[in-house]
Subunit: 142 residues, 2 copies
Amino acid sequence: MKISSRFTIAVHILLLISIERNTRCTSEYIADSVNTNPVIIRKVMGKLKNAGMIIIHRGPGGAELLKPLVQITLLDIYRAVEVVEEGELFQIHNDPNPNCAVGANIQGVLELILLKAQDAMETILDEVTMEELVTVFSKKIG
Amino acid sequence: MKISSRFTIAVHILLLISIERNTRCTSEYIADSVNTNPVIIRKVMGKLKNAGMIIIHRGPGGAELLKPLVQITLLDIYRAVEVVEEGELFQIHNDPNPNCAVGANIQGVLELILLKAQDAMETILDEVTMEELVTVFSKKIG
DNA sequence: TGTAGTTGTAACTGTTTTGGTTACAACTAA
DNA sequence: TTAGTTGTAACCAAAACAGTTACAACTACA
C-alpha cells in the first residue's frame, strides 16, 4: 500500500509555478519536468484549482499562485489532491461479530489509536510550508 | 488509499488468542468473530507465525502466543502483516526530469520530510502494546 | 489404524485504485 | 480566424484487496 504519487506530483507542480515565475507553466511543460502525461498534470492542477491554490489560464495556458507560499502547507496539498480520506488512513475490518466480546469492542478501541497515528503523520506535513520548500530549492539551484 | 484491514484483523486474532485462553482458536472460530472467510484468517495467521508471534497446531487446530504480550507492539503486528513497506508509505513519482532544476532535486528534498511523517505515524503504533490492549478489553468485558 | 477435523496453499473471482493514453469540445489571446 | 491550451470523457493495463473453492498434508484420538 502506498499513498498516491498525485501528492508529490502536486508539490512538484506548485514548486515549478513558484520558482519559474517567468515561464508559462502549461500542462505540457510541467509534464515534461514531472515526466508524465499532460492529462495527469491537468487533473492534479484541477484539484489544486478547486482548493483555491492556483488560477489556471484557459486560452494561453499556464497557471499562477493564488495564495502566499507561507499559507500553503504540505498538508493543504495532501488534502487538496485527496490521497487519503479524512480519518481513514487505516481500513478497519467492517462488521466484526457483535456477539463476540472482542468483535463487539475492537472497532472503538482501535479507532482511537489509529486516528492518533494518522494525526501524527499529518501533523508533520502541516509543519512544512511551500515557502520553506521553495527556499531550500532556491539555495540548491543558486 | 487505505492501509489494508489485514492489520486490524491481525490485532483481532491476537486479542482472541490472548483473551480466550480456554478456547481452541481455529481459523473457523476466529473467522466467525472477525466475520470473514477462514482462509483469510489462515493467511494472516501465517504471517504472525512467520514473525514468531504465535505457534499454530496443525492437526487439532488452534494457536498460542509465543511472546509475552508486553513484547508485542502494534508496530510489530503492522510489520508482520506487511501492510506498508518500510519507508515507502508515500509513493514519490519516479523519473522526474533530471534536466530540470525542480525535477533533479525534488526526490531528495521530499523523501526526508515524508520519511519523517511516516515515522511519526509508526511511532504511535510502537507505543501501544498488546498488553495494554488486552487490559482495556478485560475491563470492557468485565 | 482409520478417520474426522484442521492447516497450508494454489487458483480463481470481482472490485477498486493507480497511472497512463487518446480524443475532442470549449476557450482565448494574438 | 486560428493556433495553442484546458477540461473532460472514455478507454486500457497493472496491481492490490477481499473473498471463495478446492484439495493435499497433517495429527490427535477413537
